[in-house]
């Protein structure tokens, strides 16, 4: 049978702040266990939490960037449950009056735009971290509360996604927005960005939703994509056999790449939400919203559109450039220095700069070739030819020198003036019609001969690489 898959996603993003949500403890990642704790984040009796203004403003900024309706009145609620990573036995979260509701994110899949609706955006606190000792037979677990109380933004979509590609595009678009507006570093390896997915199948064409399976513990985008494939195959084989898919919560096991049912007792949640009496409510007026709006930079979707219009580069290329704000800034800085070649600059960045960044596992901010250096290379390129330009680019990365100084040092422009060489090459071809003809017939050595002849004329001053290019171009043009 053919099924349609219906998916929604909950995203947790740790917000970028110096201190925790309700106390002055540091949010720094990777410190010694329990060195960033105090009576407030440990939930000792009698303490009073006070809201971190920056965390709240980050949430408001995110909600606006996701086109949410902003609640005039918001407050915080206690979500009660027992788990050793939760020191207070409740999580301070939002349930009745979220900061943002009814937003959306526009994604592009296979060139088609689709709108994913956001159900709500709310602010809550992070839990601690459980460590399970490796020693077999150990009858204990260890808890580190350094993360407990770190501000956490939760973004909940409607079940609007219908394919793996849509989910992937949504995750990338969302991550990109959060990075652009600077509210989270989104480092998945540090747990700053995590997901929970809900996945159900229904017969194609049906309007009735199938039983929904919730999957927790998805710590990377890759895990989300894997679990979708896994659940589609698991659920469709159940349905094919005429069995029911149980409405349940499952945990993703990234090591074995399987989802496992959580014990029913663990999922029997009854959170008994009620307003947090230790925190006062927050009223958000229009002035605050307008003020926050001015701090939101141009977002990836509009930047991409503007690059296409302003620089006449393809939508695909604009997509790559705007996928990373720093890369987009790098490109714009280049274009600012040399307005006449945006297309060529974009090609250099997408092909050469990105390749080097990936190979060197660095980011464009720390890249040795500055926008000015790249622009200088592109400017000098006509004099040295594109294949030498590529060599010069590598040399720039290795030495940190500029293109003009490398070209000068290595005398790459000796007789590198293409028009001058063009004339000489034309003359050599005229004088050696036989060799030219042989080359046209596929005799490779004829080219070596012709280059040798040119070298004689130029007394060895011509650059063989440039010569080869000119010859190839002329001879292939001539043979047509």
């Amino acid at each position: 049978m053919k099924y349609e898959v219906v998916m929604g996603l909950e995203t947790h993003a740790e917000l970028d702040t110096e201190s925790k949500l309700f106390c002055g403890c540091s949010t720094k990642f990777g410190s010694e266990p329990n060195t960033q704790t105090c009576p407030v984040c440990l939930g000792l009796p009698g303490v009073l939490p006070v809201m971190n203004k920056k965390a709240f403003e980050h949430s408001l900024k995110a909600a606006l960037s996701l086109s949410c309706e902003i609640s005039e009145f918001t407050n915080f609620d206690r979500k009660s449950y027992y788990y050793p990573d939760l020191p207070k036995n409740y999580q301070t979260s939002q349930n009745y009056f979220n900061i943002g509701n009814n937003g959306y994110v526009d994604i592009v899949v296979k060139g088609k735009e689709k709108r994913i609706d956001i159900h709500n955006v709310h602010l809550e606190e992070e839990a601690g971290k459980l460590v399970h000792p490796e020693t077999s037979g150990a009858n204990y677990s260890l808890v580190d509360f350094n993360r407990a109380g770190v501000p956490l933004l939760e973004i909940v979509t409607q079940p609007d996604m219908r394919s793996v590609e849509e989910v992937e595009s949504y995750m990338q678009t969302l991550r990109n927005i959060l990075l652009y507006i600077g509210v989270s570093d989104c480092k998945m390896q540090e747990g700053s960005l995590r997901f929970e997915a809900s996945i159900s199948l229904r017969e194609e064409g049906s309007n009735v939703l199938g039983n929904r399976v919730e999957i927790k513990n998805l710590n990377s985008m890759k895990a989300v994509l894997k679990v979708i494939a896994y659940e589609i195959s698991r659920q469709s084989s159940l349905l094919d056999k005429g069995e029911d898919v149980l409405m349940e919560t499952r945990l993703w096991d990234d090591v074995d790449s399987v989802s496992r049912r959580m014990r029913s007792k663990e999922e029997a949640h009854d959170y008994r939400y009620f307003p947090e009496p230790d925190l006062v409510p927050v009223w958000i007026d229009q002035e605050w919203i307008d003020e926050t709006r001015t701090t939101i930079p141009e977002l990836p979707v509009s930047k991409r559109q503007r690059f296409v219009n302003e620089y006449t580069i393809s939508d695909y290329d604009a997509g790559i450039l705007t996928d990373d704000k720093l890369l987009a800034d790098y490109f714009e800085e280049c274009v600012g220095l040399s307005q006449d070649s945006p297309k060529e600059l974009s090609n250099w960045i997408i092909n050469d700069v990105l390749r080097e960044l990936n190979e060197r596992k660095t980011n464009v901010q720390d890249f040795i070739v500055s926008p000015k250096m790249l622009v200088d290379l592109v400017k000098i390129k006509p004099a040295i030819g594109s294949s030498i330009a590529k060599d010069v680019f590598v040399e720039m990365i290795n030495t940190g020198k500029t293109a003009p100084s490398i070209v000068k040092e290595k005398s790459l422009t000796q007789m590198g003036d293409v028009s001058e060489l063009n004339d000489i090459v034309a003359k050599v071809i005229d004088e050696n019609p036989k060799a030219a003809e042989d080359y046209g017939k596929g005799k490779k050595s004829a080219l070596t001969f012709l280059i040798g002849q040119t070298m004689k004329v130029t007394k060895g001053k011509a650059n063989p690489k440039i010569l080869t290019e000119i010859f190839k171009e002329k001879l292939s043009a001539g043979s047509k």
């Binding site: 403890c25 329990n34 960033q36 677990s141 808890v143 409510p281």
Partner: protein, 95 residues
Amino acid sequence: MDISVKEIEHIADLSRITLTVDEKNTFAKQLTNILGYIEKLNELDTDEVQPMAYATFLKNVFREDKLKSSFSRQEILELSPSSANGFFKVPKVIE
């Protein structure tokens, strides 16, 4: 509104407390009485009244995002029944 023994068991379970059979019966009766008493409030028309969750009229109380020193780890771990290598030690949690 009658509170059943089953509901008492559910609440006890959520609160991680163990009750004897006698206690369950007692609490079921007592809670039924208390809720019945409160039920009287439902006779009032509250359609035009906003829910009030807070006893004060304070709003928008924030602190700046500034670091304050945390407590010493040793001091904090000493408050717990068991610790090891800088961690709190708890009964094994099955993932």
